[in-house]
């Protein structure tokens, strides 16, 4: 018996990246632009999507992939808007995976009518850490940080805040009741991810949601322009 050193020199997430690229190929073939929407649990991902779909997306045909450890509550809420939606439950993983990876998304692609979708929103599992590590084939990554979470979150979760080009600040209708300093949050976002876009919204009252909707639609138009 002898020992040998085998050179690997490979990013440990390369396998995921390869599958993400395959997903991307499928999305491009059907002309689907994809946004990966992430946040901590309870920041308002589903409520924001409900608000967007309630407002309407014009002639943009949307679809949703819902990632949760368990249950189809979120998918049921989205289905009310007659938007094609598929629920992915991650509880078959080791203890319930805390994020979606490229392979989980790939396994769900067959259930979505991609040819009839222009914009696919992937609502990731609520978690401010792991989803930032796993690309799924998206064109853009957005996150929600709600004003009940604290201004220091960008400094505590820089991996997530750096991974996203759009930071949605939700629940601004609660600001009168909180000591939350929006400027401080935005300064911290700019500190860890210079140049990141942000949008203040209340998914509950609809304030600012139109601008976020326009950003979502803009991701699709940007992809068409570069295609």
């Amino acid at each position: 018996m002898h020992r040998t050193k085998v050179k690997v020199a490979e990013d440990a997430l390369d396998a995921n990246t390869t599958i993400a690229q395959a997903n991307r190929g499928d999305f491009d073939r059907d002309g689907v632009s994809v946004v990966n929407l992430m946040s901590a649990p309870g920041a308002g991902k589903t409520t924001l999507l409900e608000s967007v779909f309630g407002m309407g997306l014009g002639d943009v045909r949307a679809g949703v992939l819902e990632g949760d450890v368990q249950g189809s509550m979120d998918a049921d809420r989205i289905a009310h808007f007659h938007v094609p939606v598929t629920q992915i439950n991650t509880d078959s993983g080791f203890g319930g995976e805390c994020h979606l990876d490229a392979n989980m998304v790939r396994s769900a692609l067959g259930t979505l009518p991609l040819a009839d979708i222009d914009l696919l929103v992937i609502e990731n599992v609520g978690n401010l850490v792991c989803p930032a590590e796993f690309r799924v084939g998206e064109d853009a990554r957005a996150m929600i940080c709600s004003v009940t979470e604290g201004e220091d979150k960008p400094l505590k979760y820089p991996l997530m805040f750096r991974a996203c080009e759009m930071v949605v600040v939700n629940k601004i209708d609660l600001l009168p009741h909180l000591d939350f300093d929006v400027d401080k949050l935005l300064y911290n976002v700019e500190t860890v991810n210079p140049g990141a876009k942000h949008q203040l919204v209340s998914a509950r009252t609809g304030e600012g949601v139109e601008a976020f909707r326009d950003w979502l639609v803009g991701v699709g138009e940007r992809e068409k322009a570069t295609a």
Partner: protein, 120 residues
Amino acid sequence: MHELSLSSAIVDTVERHADGRRVTTVTMTIGSLRQVVAESLSFYFEIVSRGRVCEGATLEQNYVEARVRCVPCDRGWTLDQPIFRCPDCGGSEIEVLSGEEFEVDSIDVTEEEAACIAPR
């Protein structure tokens, strides 16, 4: 907390390169911007490795500090906090030179002499 997810990715990578051989050491380069807690990664690696080719293997973690450079004023420095703003000019056009690595460099494998003639 993402060390569990990362451990699974490491073991999958190791398994693809091990070609069925027993792995005794996995050597990695990890950038400090990945926010990996070394003890936590070792802990989960040991659990995820059970029943796989790298069961019981040592995980060697070599950490790389986060070096950045301010593009406008060319100042370079090491980040110890995630503050991507130049301490000299206040500029925010910052280039990351190192610190984002999460690479399996090599694996040490043991080969049984008999395995040389056994069909794979």
